[in-house]
Amino acid sequence: MKPQNLFEKIWNAHVIRTDKDGTSLLYIDRHLVHEVTSPQAFEGLRLAGRTVRRPEATFAVPDHNVPTKQLEQGITDPIARLQVETLDANCRTFGVHQFGMGDIRQGVIHVMAPEQGIILPGLTVVCGDSHTATHGAFAALAFGIGTSEVEHVLATQTLPQTKPRTMRIQVDGVLGPGVSAKDVVLYMIGQIGTAGGTGHVMEFTGTAISELSMEGRLTLCNMAIEAGARAGLVAVDEKTIDYLRGRPMAPKGADWDLAVTAWQQLKADPGASYDRTLTFAAEQIAPQVTWGTSPEMTLPVDGRIPDPAAETDPVRRGSLEKALLYMGLQPGTAVQDIPLDVVFIGSCTNGRIEDLRLAAAQVAGKQVAKNIKQALVVPGTGLVKQQAEAEGLDRIFKEAGFEWRAPGCSMCLAMNADVLGPGDRCASTSNRNFEGRQGPGGRTHLVSPAMAAAAAVAGHFVDIR
C-alpha cells in the first residue's frame, strides 16, 4: 500500500462516500459549540423540525461573551446575556451537554475540550470557530466551520468536504532559550504569509516539534489558521498519550488499551508524500513580536519596523503603509523601543497552565511598569485557574500588579467588557492583530506569554533570551 501521511490516515477513516465530482461526505466524531455561532444553527433545526443526531458527541460552553469579573452580577450586557441564555435553552431542548456558567470546567472552548479529554487522536472535530485547528495537536483532524455547517453537523453528524491538499512544515533543531511554540508559529506565518497555507492541512514535523509539550503543540496548531491552513496536525507520541491518560472523557480500562494501540499508528508512514514541504531551522527563530495588522507582519524582538518605501509591490506597500498608520509606528523604530499601555495574557492560544507558569516566571518578585494602564491574566478555564492558584501563580501576578480574572475569551476579541481604548497599545498572547480586534482603534502586538509578561514589567518589549 502507498505510504500515507497523517492527514490521509484520518481522512480515509472518515469518508462515508465520495461523489463523482470528488466531494466526500465526512463523518464527524466531536462537535464543539459556543454561544456566538450556534443560535442560528439551532434555530434552523427547529424550523425544519430536525433533531441533533448525536447529542452525546456534541459539547457546548459559553466563552466569547462571558464577563471575567464580578461574576456574581451575572452578565450585565443584555444582548450578550440573551446569547448565553439562548445557548442554555438550546442545549436543554436538544439534549446537548453544556459546561455552563458557574461550572469549574467552563472557559475558552479550545482550552476546555482537550482538558476534558473530549479530543482524542484520530477523531474528526469541528466547531463554529476558526481556532478549532488547535486540536490537531492530538493528531485529530480539527477544523472551523460556519454556522450553516454547524447546523449540518448537528442534524447529520457529517459534513460534505472537498479533500484539502497537504503541506508539511518541518522544524528541526533546538529552540533557543526564551523561544516558544508561539514564536515558532509566528515566525512560520511571517515566512509563508497569512494565505500561505490556504487549501492545505499542515502537518508539523521535525525534532523541534516533537520536543514541544502538548501545550506548545496546541499553541502551534491553534495558529495554523492564521497561515490560512484548514487545520494543523502533529503526530501521536508518548506525550500525547500521557496527556490523555485519566482525562474525564478519555477511554478507560480495556477501551483505553485498544485506543492506545490504534493511536500509535497515527503518524506519517515512512516515505509518505505531501503536496508541499517547507523546512525551517529552529535556531533561526527568535522571540517574535508582530508590529502590524496581520499576523504575518512579525519581527524578531531585536528587529526594526520595516519601511514601506523599500517595498516594490504597490499592493504590499499600501498594506504596510495602512498598517503603520493604524499602529501609529514609524519605520526604523526598534521593536524594543515601543512603549506599551496594556498587557493581556490568555486566550485559546496561550491560556493554559504552562503558559501561565512561563509568564509568572518572568514577573516573580517584580512589578508591572508604571506606564502600563492595565495588565490582565485570564486563565483558559476554571480548572486552569484552580491549578494556577494551587501553584501560587495568582499571588505572583497579583503582587506584581496584574489583575487575576475568571476564564473566557476576554480581550482576545473584546466581546465582553475587556476592551482596548482607541490608540491603546497592547502586548497580547492571543492570535489576531487585525484592526479593532481588541477594541476599536486598539493596537495589538502578538507575543508569547513570557514575552508579554516581561514587557509588562519593563513597560516595553524586551529580549528575554
Binding site: H97, G122, D129, S148, P160, D255, V315, F434, P440
Partner: protein
C-alpha cells in the same frame, strides 16, 4: 437559500488585500441570535465615523465619504471586487449574512480564505476566483468608469465585461449545482442516511473508543 443563476449588476471595489471578517462585520454585531439585519453594519468601521452598536439604527450616523460603499456611484452594487485573501480571520457566517443582507451576490477576488469561501455558497453568494492581474484590471476599469457593471453567468461559468469580453471561471460542480438550484445541503445529505448509519455501525466496531463519551457522562463525571 435563494438560487443564483445569472446577474448583471453594478460593481463596488474594495481595493485592499486581506480584508478580514472582523472588518466585514465587527464583533459587536455577533451578539445577534438572528441571520438577517446585518446589512446596514456591513464594513461598519470603515463605513461610519462613529462606532456602531447592535440594535442602534444607522440612519443619520456620520459617514466616511471616502469609503466606496458610501459613494453614490456604487449604490445598489451587487458585485464586490476585492484583492487577495478576502474573508480571512474568524469563521463568522455573519460576514456573508451581512454581505447578502446588503445586497451582494457575487464577490470576485484573486483568492479567498477557505471558511469564508465555503460560507458564501451556503448563503447564495457566489465567490469567483480570477487571476490577480485580471482582478487588478477590473479594479482599474471599475474605478475609471462610473456605472461599471459586469454580467455573471454561473451556468456558463463566465464573467462578461461591458465590452463583451468573456472571463471564464471555475466552480466546484457540487457547489454550482446547489447554488443554481438553491438546494439545502442538509436535505441532500439526509438522502444518504442509510450509508451514514452503516458507516457509524462499522466504526463503532473498528474504533469503539471513539464512541465512549456518553458512557463517561453517565458515570457521573459530568
Amino acid at each position: 437559500m435563494e438560487p443564483f443563476n445569472e446577474l448583471t449588476a453594478l460593481v463596488v471595489p474594495i481595493d485592499r488585500a486581506n480584508v478580514d471578517t472582523d472588518a466585514i462585520i465587527p464583533k459587536q454585531f455577533l451578539k445577534s441570535i438572528h441571520r438577517t439585519g446585518f446589512g446596514p453594519n456591513l464594513f461598519d468601521e470603515w463605513r461610519y465615523l462613529d462606532r456602531g452598536e447592535p440594535g442602534r439604527s444607522c440612519v443619520g450616523r456620520p459617514l466616511n465619504d471616502a469609503f466606496a460603499l458610501n459613494q453614490p456611484r456604487y449604490r445598489g452594487a451587487a458585485i464586490l471586487l476585492a484583492r487577495d485573501n478576502f474573508g480571512c480571520g474568524s469563521s463568522r457566517e455573519h460576514a456573508p449574512w451581512a454581505l447578502l443582507d446588503y445586497g451582494i451576490r457575487v464577490i470576485i477576488a484573486p483568492s479567498f480564505a477557505d471558511i469564508f469561501f465555503n460560507n458564501c455558497f451556503k448563503n447564495g453568494i457566489l465567490p469567483i476566483t480570477l487571476d490577480g492581474a485580471l482582478v487588478d484590471r477590473l479594479l482599474q476599469e471599475t474605478l475609471a468608469t462610473p456605472g461599471y457593471t459586469l454580467t455573471v453567468d454561473l451556468e456558463a461559468e463566465m464573467v462578461t465585461t461591458p465590452d463583451g469580453e468573456g472571463l471564464p471561471f471555475d466552480v466546484d460542480p457540487f457547489r454550482r449545482h446547489c447554488l443554481l438550484h438553491g438546494l439545502d445541503d442538509i436535505g441532500l445529505t439526509l438522502q444518504h442516511l442509510p450509508e451514514i448509519e452503516q458507516y457509524e455501525q462499522q466504526r463503532r466496531q473498528d474504533a469503539p473508543w471513539a464512541f465512549l463519551v456518553r458512557d463517561q457522562q453517565q458515570q457521573g463525571v459530568s
